[in-house]
């Protein structure tokens, strides 16, 4: 059915030219389509993919480096903050101590002032009392002596001299008594 009519077959090692030509035409078309259209297209896509993958890796690396630097920055800031806090605590302690000292000194000073003022007041009161007492005692004594001796002791000059002498003697006596005690 499928055999040629000739009884002697052609040697299978001898090419039949139409077949060679058909083969070459087929191959030529395949080559042309691959070389001009399909392989450039796929190579472009492969390059793009390569670039995309490379780009992705680069991005990831960049992100990692950035994260690292941010972490270091953060750590540095944290350390600085800790240092600052310690310094502030130290300063506060020192300031507190100084304030307490100052307050103590102020208290001491005020106390002394108050005491001094009290002393001065007492002294002034004592002096006022003494001088008023001296006048009253003088007057009372003169009045009493005048009445007793009937002699007018109205002469003020003499009167004051006498009183002063008396009081001085009295004071001297008091001082002596105090010294002898």
């Amino acid at each position: 059915m499928m055999y040629l009519a000739s009884t002697e077959p052609q040697s299978p090692l001898l090419p039949v030219w139409p077949e060679v030509v058909i083969g070459l035409i087929c191959f030529g078309i395949i080559y042309f389509v691959f070389a001009k259209k399909l392989l450039p297209a796929i190579n472009k896509a492969l390059d793009e993919r390569h670039a995309a993958i490379e780009g992705g890796i680069e991005k990831a690396e960049a992100a990692q480096i950035e994260a690292q630097s941010v972490l270091e920055q953060y750590k540095a800031q944290l350390a600085e903050a800790r240092h600052e806090a310690a310094r502030l605590r130290q300063e506060a302690t020192e300031q507190g101590t100084a304030i307490i000292q100052e307050m103590k000194a102020e208290g001491q000073r005020q106390r002394e002032e108050i005491i001094a003022a009290g002393h001065a007041q007492i002294e002034a009161d004592r002096k006022a009392a003494a001088s008023s007492l001296r006048q009253d005692v003088g007057k009372l004594a003169t009045d009493l002596a005048g009445k007793l001796v009937g002699e007018s002791l109205e002469d003020s000059a003499r009167q004051s001299r006498t009183i002063d002498r008396f009081l001085d003697e009295l004071e001297d006596g008091a001082v002596k008594a105090e010294a002898s005690r």
Partner: protein, 271 residues
Amino acid sequence: MSADPTQVLAFETDCHLFKGCGFEGPSVWSFIFEPIATVGPVEINKPMLLAVIGSILIMGFFWLAFAKPKVVPGKTQMVAEVLYDFVRRGIGREVIGKKAEPFIPLLVSLFFFVWMLNLWALIPLAQFPVSSVIAFPAGLAIVVWVTYMTVTFKTNGFVGGIRNLCVPAGLPKPIYFILTPIEFVSNIFVRPFTLAVRLFANMFAGHVLILIFTTATWYMLGTLLGTVYATASFALTLVLTVFEMFIQALQAYVFTVLTATYLSQALEEAH
């Protein structure tokens, strides 16, 4: 027994084992076809038709895969990319190296065209390896020969090209008296011949083997004992078919690798 092999196919005989009838094995006639149609002066036969359909299939598949390539590939593109990468990296870069890029389309076309021609042996209804018709391997061998000769003389100039083809470097001088003629004949005449015949003979032999065991299966059917034999023969047909699948891919690979090797040698600068 009908003695005229030009008239009958083995399957069309009623000739069976134990019926006083000899086995008619396949012959060269199995590789010669009557024209199916005539286009102008050319008579189209089955191998020609299969070569054309095969070319359309290759281009169709790769067109689907690569015409609108995506950075994230679909299934077809992924498969095609693996195949393409196998030829580009596994053959081109591996054998030729950095200068491979201009020859990648040639290697890719050769590999898939040869593989397709071989594959026809297994495709139902076709079941004939187109590369077992010498014309097809011969045509491709001519293409390869022209390419590597052109590359040799383009790279090295005329004298350098002759040196490249005939005078392998780094040998003691007396050896060249023997070696130069051998190299000359080998590189210029024997190479394209062996390239074509290797592919042709492998596919021819493979097809003959499968034919023998298939026709034998048919021949031995009929009696009980014969059916046992036929079963064994059929099993062997299946084994051989699987083996042929391997050989088909291997021969396509060998053809392409040898082409790449010749090109790589042609690209070597003169020493």
